[in-house]
Subunit: 143 residues, 2 copies
DNA sequence: CCCATTACTTATCATTTGATAAGCAAATCA
DNA sequence: TGATTTGCTTATCAAATGATAAGTAATGGG
Protein backbone atom coordinates (compact mmCIF):
# COMPACT_ATOMS: atom_id res chain seq x y z
CA UNK A 1 0.00 0.00 0.00
CA UNK A 2 1.39 3.38 -1.03
CA UNK A 3 1.13 5.36 2.18
CA UNK A 4 1.99 8.61 0.49
CA UNK A 5 -0.89 8.22 -1.92
CA UNK A 6 -3.13 7.20 0.94
CA UNK A 7 -2.26 10.44 2.69
CA UNK A 8 -3.29 12.52 -0.31
CA UNK A 9 -6.51 10.59 -0.60
CA UNK A 10 -7.09 11.18 3.09
CA UNK A 11 -6.55 14.91 2.74
CA UNK A 12 -9.00 15.34 -0.10
CA UNK A 13 -11.45 13.09 1.72
CA UNK A 14 -11.40 15.19 4.88
CA UNK A 15 -11.80 18.30 2.75
CA UNK A 16 -14.90 16.79 1.20
CA UNK A 17 -16.26 15.80 4.58
CA UNK A 18 -15.86 19.37 5.77
CA UNK A 19 -17.60 20.74 2.72
CA UNK A 20 -20.52 18.37 2.93
CA UNK A 21 -20.84 18.98 6.65
CA UNK A 22 -20.94 22.68 5.97
CA UNK A 23 -23.65 22.21 3.36
CA UNK A 24 -25.73 20.07 5.69
CA UNK A 25 -25.44 22.37 8.66
CA UNK A 26 -25.49 25.83 7.18
CA UNK A 27 -28.20 28.09 8.55
CA UNK A 28 -29.57 25.47 10.94
CA UNK A 29 -28.52 27.43 13.99
CA UNK A 30 -30.87 30.04 15.40
CA UNK A 31 -29.71 33.63 15.11
CA UNK A 32 -29.77 34.07 18.88
CA UNK A 33 -26.67 31.94 19.36
CA UNK A 34 -23.21 32.36 17.88
CA UNK A 35 -21.37 29.58 16.04
CA UNK A 36 -19.32 28.70 19.07
CA UNK A 37 -22.41 28.63 21.27
CA UNK A 38 -24.15 26.38 18.77
CA UNK A 39 -21.17 24.04 18.79
CA UNK A 40 -21.35 23.89 22.57
CA UNK A 41 -25.05 23.08 22.40
CA UNK A 42 -24.32 20.29 19.90
CA UNK A 43 -21.74 18.94 22.28
CA UNK A 44 -24.08 19.08 25.25
CA UNK A 45 -26.90 17.54 23.23
CA UNK A 46 -24.80 14.56 22.26
CA UNK A 47 -23.13 13.84 25.56
CA UNK A 48 -25.16 15.40 28.34
CA UNK A 49 -24.71 15.73 31.17
CA UNK A 50 -21.32 17.29 30.69
CA UNK A 51 -19.06 19.41 32.89
CA UNK A 52 -17.64 22.78 31.84
CA UNK A 53 -14.16 21.26 32.03
CA UNK A 54 -15.14 18.52 29.59
CA UNK A 55 -16.60 21.07 27.21
CA UNK A 56 -13.48 23.16 27.53
CA UNK A 57 -11.24 20.18 26.76
CA UNK A 58 -13.11 18.74 23.86
CA UNK A 59 -13.93 22.05 22.20
CA UNK A 60 -10.35 23.25 22.64
CA UNK A 61 -11.31 26.45 24.37
CA UNK A 62 -10.09 27.99 27.60
CA UNK A 63 -12.09 27.67 30.79
CA UNK A 64 -12.74 31.40 31.07
CA UNK A 65 -14.15 31.52 27.57
CA UNK A 66 -16.14 28.34 28.08
CA UNK A 67 -17.56 29.80 31.26
CA UNK A 68 -18.51 33.02 29.52
CA UNK A 69 -20.32 31.26 26.69
CA UNK A 70 -22.09 28.87 29.07
CA UNK A 71 -23.25 31.86 31.04
CA UNK A 72 -24.74 33.39 27.91
CA UNK A 73 -26.49 30.12 27.05
CA UNK A 74 -27.79 29.93 30.60
CA UNK A 75 -29.12 33.47 30.40
CA UNK A 76 -30.97 32.47 27.24
CA UNK A 77 -32.48 29.52 29.10
CA UNK A 78 -30.94 27.04 26.72
CA UNK A 79 -29.01 25.06 29.30
CA UNK A 80 -29.29 24.06 32.95
CA UNK A 81 -26.49 23.92 35.46
CA UNK A 82 -26.76 21.26 38.13
CA UNK A 83 -24.11 21.22 40.80
CA UNK A 84 -22.63 17.91 41.79
CA UNK A 85 -23.86 16.46 45.08
CA UNK A 86 -20.51 14.98 46.02
CA UNK A 87 -18.13 17.62 44.73
CA UNK A 88 -19.77 20.98 44.95
CA UNK A 89 -17.17 22.62 42.73
CA UNK A 90 -18.37 20.56 39.77
CA UNK A 91 -21.29 21.30 37.55
CA UNK A 92 -23.33 19.19 35.20
CA UNK A 93 -24.63 20.91 32.12
CA UNK A 94 -27.81 19.76 30.39
CA UNK A 95 -30.01 21.26 27.75
CA UNK A 96 -33.09 22.96 29.13
CA UNK A 97 -36.52 22.35 27.63
CA UNK A 98 -35.93 25.27 25.24
CA UNK A 99 -32.46 24.03 24.46
CA UNK A 100 -33.78 20.56 23.63
CA UNK A 101 -36.37 22.03 21.32
CA UNK A 102 -33.80 24.20 19.57
CA UNK A 103 -31.38 21.34 19.06
CA UNK A 104 -34.05 18.86 18.04
CA UNK A 105 -35.11 21.27 15.34
CA UNK A 106 -31.54 21.79 14.22
CA UNK A 107 -30.83 18.06 14.01
CA UNK A 108 -34.12 17.45 12.25
CA UNK A 109 -33.18 20.01 9.61
CA UNK A 110 -29.80 18.39 9.17
CA UNK A 111 -31.38 14.96 8.89
CA UNK A 112 -33.77 16.13 6.18
CA UNK A 113 -30.81 17.28 4.14
CA UNK A 114 -28.92 14.08 4.83
CA UNK A 115 -31.83 11.91 3.76
CA UNK A 116 -32.11 13.97 0.61
CA UNK A 117 -28.41 13.45 0.00
CA UNK A 118 -28.79 9.68 0.07
CA UNK A 119 -32.30 9.32 -1.32
CA UNK A 120 -31.22 8.04 -4.70
CA UNK A 121 -28.63 5.62 -3.47
CA UNK A 122 -29.38 1.95 -3.95
CA UNK A 123 -29.85 -0.41 -1.02
CA UNK A 124 -26.69 -2.18 -2.04
CA UNK A 125 -24.63 0.98 -2.04
CA UNK A 126 -26.09 2.03 1.30
CA UNK A 127 -24.82 -1.20 2.80
CA UNK A 128 -21.41 -0.52 1.35
CA UNK A 129 -21.47 3.01 2.76
CA UNK A 130 -22.56 1.74 6.13
CA UNK A 131 -19.68 -0.71 6.17
CA UNK A 132 -17.21 1.93 4.99
CA UNK A 133 -18.28 4.22 7.83
CA UNK A 134 -17.67 1.42 10.31
CA UNK A 135 -14.27 0.62 8.88
CA UNK A 136 -13.03 4.20 8.97
CA UNK A 137 -14.57 4.97 12.33
CA UNK A 138 -12.95 1.92 13.93
CA UNK A 139 -9.60 1.91 12.22
CA UNK A 140 -8.70 5.52 11.55
CA UNK A 141 -11.02 7.92 13.31
CA UNK A 142 -11.00 6.13 16.62
CA UNK A 143 -11.14 8.45 19.52
CA UNK B 1 -31.13 -0.29 5.52
CA UNK B 2 -32.23 1.79 8.48
CA UNK B 3 -31.66 5.30 7.20
CA UNK B 4 -32.28 6.84 10.60
CA UNK B 5 -29.53 4.75 12.13
CA UNK B 6 -27.30 5.55 9.20
CA UNK B 7 -27.81 9.24 9.89
CA UNK B 8 -26.70 8.86 13.49
CA UNK B 9 -23.67 6.90 12.42
CA UNK B 10 -22.92 9.60 9.89
CA UNK B 11 -23.12 12.32 12.53
CA UNK B 12 -20.74 10.65 14.91
CA UNK B 13 -18.47 9.82 12.01
CA UNK B 14 -18.20 13.42 10.87
CA UNK B 15 -17.58 14.47 14.46
CA UNK B 16 -14.68 12.03 14.63
CA UNK B 17 -13.32 13.27 11.33
CA UNK B 18 -13.34 16.81 12.64
CA UNK B 19 -11.58 15.80 15.82
CA UNK B 20 -8.89 13.81 14.07
CA UNK B 21 -8.39 16.58 11.54
CA UNK B 22 -7.96 19.01 14.39
CA UNK B 23 -5.41 16.76 16.04
CA UNK B 24 -3.45 16.36 12.80
CA UNK B 25 -3.41 20.03 11.93
CA UNK B 26 -3.09 21.78 15.25
CA UNK B 27 -0.14 24.14 15.51
CA UNK B 28 1.06 23.48 11.96
CA UNK B 29 0.32 27.00 10.84
CA UNK B 30 2.94 29.69 11.30
CA UNK B 31 2.11 32.40 13.83
CA UNK B 32 2.34 35.08 11.18
CA UNK B 33 -0.92 34.02 9.56
CA UNK B 34 -4.37 33.73 11.09
CA UNK B 35 -6.53 30.62 10.84
CA UNK B 36 -8.57 32.04 8.02
CA UNK B 37 -5.44 33.07 6.15
CA UNK B 38 -4.01 29.59 6.62
CA UNK B 39 -7.19 28.06 5.25
CA UNK B 40 -6.90 30.31 2.21
CA UNK B 41 -3.31 29.23 1.70
CA UNK B 42 -4.38 25.58 1.92
CA UNK B 43 -7.01 26.25 -0.68
CA UNK B 44 -4.55 28.01 -2.98
CA UNK B 45 -1.95 25.28 -2.49
CA UNK B 46 -4.37 22.57 -3.51
CA UNK B 47 -5.99 24.23 -6.48
CA UNK B 48 -3.73 26.99 -7.72
CA UNK B 49 -4.08 29.09 -9.71
CA UNK B 50 -7.30 30.31 -8.23
CA UNK B 51 -9.28 33.54 -8.53
CA UNK B 52 -10.40 35.62 -5.55
CA UNK B 53 -14.00 34.90 -6.53
CA UNK B 54 -13.37 31.16 -6.39
CA UNK B 55 -11.75 31.49 -2.99
CA UNK B 56 -14.65 33.60 -1.83
CA UNK B 57 -17.18 31.03 -3.01
CA UNK B 58 -15.57 27.94 -1.74
CA UNK B 59 -14.50 29.35 1.61
CA UNK B 60 -17.92 30.90 2.14
CA UNK B 61 -16.61 34.36 2.78
CA UNK B 62 -17.56 37.69 1.27
CA UNK B 63 -15.50 39.26 -1.49
CA UNK B 64 -14.50 42.26 0.61
CA UNK B 65 -13.19 40.04 3.37
CA UNK B 66 -11.50 37.72 0.91
CA UNK B 67 -9.84 40.69 -0.70
CA UNK B 68 -8.65 42.00 2.65
CA UNK B 69 -7.10 38.69 3.66
CA UNK B 70 -5.48 38.18 0.27
CA UNK B 71 -3.97 41.62 0.56
CA UNK B 72 -2.43 40.69 3.88
CA UNK B 73 -1.04 37.46 2.46
CA UNK B 74 0.33 39.41 -0.48
CA UNK B 75 2.01 41.89 1.84
CA UNK B 76 3.64 38.99 3.62
CA UNK B 77 4.92 37.71 0.27
CA UNK B 78 3.07 34.45 0.63
CA UNK B 79 1.05 34.73 -2.57
CA UNK B 80 1.36 36.20 -6.04
CA UNK B 81 -1.35 37.94 -7.99
CA UNK B 82 -1.26 37.52 -11.72
CA UNK B 83 -3.79 39.42 -13.74
CA UNK B 84 -5.54 37.63 -16.54
CA UNK B 85 -4.34 38.47 -20.04
CA UNK B 86 -7.78 38.28 -21.58
CA UNK B 87 -9.91 39.73 -18.82
CA UNK B 88 -7.92 42.27 -16.91
CA UNK B 89 -10.44 42.39 -14.07
CA UNK B 90 -9.60 38.83 -13.15
CA UNK B 91 -6.69 37.70 -11.05
CA UNK B 92 -4.95 34.41 -10.63
CA UNK B 93 -3.61 33.69 -7.20
CA UNK B 94 -0.62 31.42 -6.69
CA UNK B 95 1.64 30.71 -3.78
CA UNK B 96 4.90 32.60 -3.91
CA UNK B 97 8.21 30.88 -3.23
CA UNK B 98 7.82 31.69 0.47
CA UNK B 99 4.23 30.56 0.44
CA UNK B 100 5.18 27.24 -1.13
CA UNK B 101 7.83 26.70 1.50
CA UNK B 102 5.41 27.50 4.29
CA UNK B 103 2.70 25.20 3.00
CA UNK B 104 5.11 22.39 2.14
CA UNK B 105 6.30 22.48 5.72
CA UNK B 106 2.77 22.49 7.04
CA UNK B 107 1.70 19.55 4.90
CA UNK B 108 4.86 17.67 5.78
CA UNK B 109 4.09 18.08 9.47
CA UNK B 110 0.56 16.87 8.90
CA UNK B 111 1.79 13.90 6.93
CA UNK B 112 4.20 12.89 9.69
CA UNK B 113 1.28 12.77 12.10
CA UNK B 114 -0.87 10.91 9.64
CA UNK B 115 1.79 8.29 9.01
CA UNK B 116 2.17 7.89 12.74
CA UNK B 117 -1.58 7.43 13.02
CA UNK B 118 -1.55 4.53 10.58
CA UNK B 119 1.86 3.06 11.31
CA UNK B 120 0.54 0.05 13.20
CA UNK B 121 -2.23 -0.83 10.80
CA UNK B 122 -1.83 -4.05 8.83
CA UNK B 123 -1.49 -4.06 5.06
CA UNK B 124 -4.83 -5.78 4.86
CA UNK B 125 -6.60 -3.14 6.91
CA UNK B 126 -4.94 -0.37 4.94
CA UNK B 127 -6.43 -1.81 1.78
CA UNK B 128 -9.81 -1.88 3.44
CA UNK B 129 -9.38 1.72 4.57
CA UNK B 130 -8.30 2.76 1.11
CA UNK B 131 -11.40 1.16 -0.35
CA UNK B 132 -13.65 2.70 2.29
CA UNK B 133 -12.29 6.15 1.48
CA UNK B 134 -13.07 5.59 -2.19
CA UNK B 135 -16.58 4.40 -1.47
CA UNK B 136 -17.47 7.34 0.75
CA UNK B 137 -15.76 9.89 -1.44
CA UNK B 138 -17.58 8.69 -4.53
CA UNK B 139 -20.99 7.93 -3.11
CA UNK B 140 -21.56 10.38 -0.30
CA UNK B 141 -18.96 13.11 -0.25
CA UNK B 142 -19.02 13.80 -3.95
CA UNK B 143 -18.51 17.41 -4.73
C1' DC C 1 -21.64 54.70 -27.34
C1' DC C 2 -24.27 53.85 -23.16
C1' DC C 3 -25.71 51.00 -19.62
C1' DA C 4 -25.60 47.03 -16.88
C1' DT C 5 -22.76 43.61 -15.07
C1' DT C 6 -18.62 41.55 -13.32
C1' DA C 7 -14.31 41.32 -10.59
C1' DC C 8 -12.21 43.21 -7.25
C1' DT C 9 -10.86 46.99 -3.69
C1' DT C 10 -11.22 50.23 0.13
C1' DA C 11 -13.14 51.78 4.22
C1' DT C 12 -15.68 51.29 8.29
C1' DC C 13 -18.12 49.22 12.00
C1' DA C 14 -20.06 45.74 15.11
C1' DT C 15 -19.49 41.34 16.94
C1' DT C 16 -17.16 37.31 18.08
C1' DT C 17 -13.41 35.03 19.66
C1' DG C 18 -9.03 34.30 22.11
C1' DA C 19 -5.86 35.25 25.77
C1' DT C 20 -4.59 36.59 30.34
C1' DA C 21 -4.82 37.99 35.20
C1' DA C 22 -7.05 37.61 39.32
C1' DG C 23 -10.31 35.68 42.41
C1' DC C 24 -13.28 32.31 45.10
C1' DA C 25 -14.85 28.21 47.22
C1' DA C 26 -14.53 23.35 47.70
C1' DA C 27 -11.60 19.44 47.94
C1' DT C 28 -7.33 17.05 48.86
C1' DC C 29 -3.22 16.10 50.97
C1' DA C 30 0.71 16.36 54.00
C1' DT D 1 -4.64 22.52 60.27
C1' DG D 2 -2.50 24.83 56.72
C1' DA D 3 -0.94 24.62 52.02
C1' DT D 4 -1.93 23.19 47.45
C1' DT D 5 -4.80 21.84 43.82
C1' DT D 6 -9.08 21.70 41.28
C1' DG D 7 -13.26 23.62 39.10
C1' DC D 8 -15.18 27.42 37.85
C1' DT D 9 -16.06 32.66 37.50
C1' DT D 10 -15.30 37.54 36.57
C1' DA D 11 -13.10 41.15 34.29
C1' DT D 12 -10.54 43.07 30.73
C1' DC D 13 -8.07 43.59 26.48
C1' DA D 14 -6.55 42.68 21.84
C1' DA D 15 -7.25 40.53 17.63
C1' DA D 16 -9.86 38.22 14.15
C1' DT D 17 -13.88 37.90 11.68
C1' DG D 18 -18.25 39.25 9.47
C1' DA D 19 -21.22 42.57 7.32
C1' DT D 20 -22.20 46.55 4.63
C1' DA D 21 -21.67 50.66 1.77
C1' DA D 22 -19.32 52.76 -1.70
C1' DG D 23 -16.01 52.95 -5.35
C1' DT D 24 -12.96 51.66 -9.58
C1' DA D 25 -11.93 49.56 -13.75
C1' DA D 26 -12.86 46.24 -17.31
C1' DT D 27 -16.17 43.76 -20.00
C1' DG D 28 -20.13 42.93 -22.75
C1' DG D 29 -24.68 43.53 -24.66
C1' DG D 30 -27.85 46.35 -27.08
Amino acid sequence: MDKKALFHKFVSFTTSVHEVTHALTQDVKADSVTSVQYKILENVKVSQPVTPTEISDCMHMSMPNTSRELKKLYEQNLIEKISDKEDRRKQHIRLSKDGEIMMDEAFAAIEVRFQKLIENISEEDLKEINHALDVLQNKVFTR
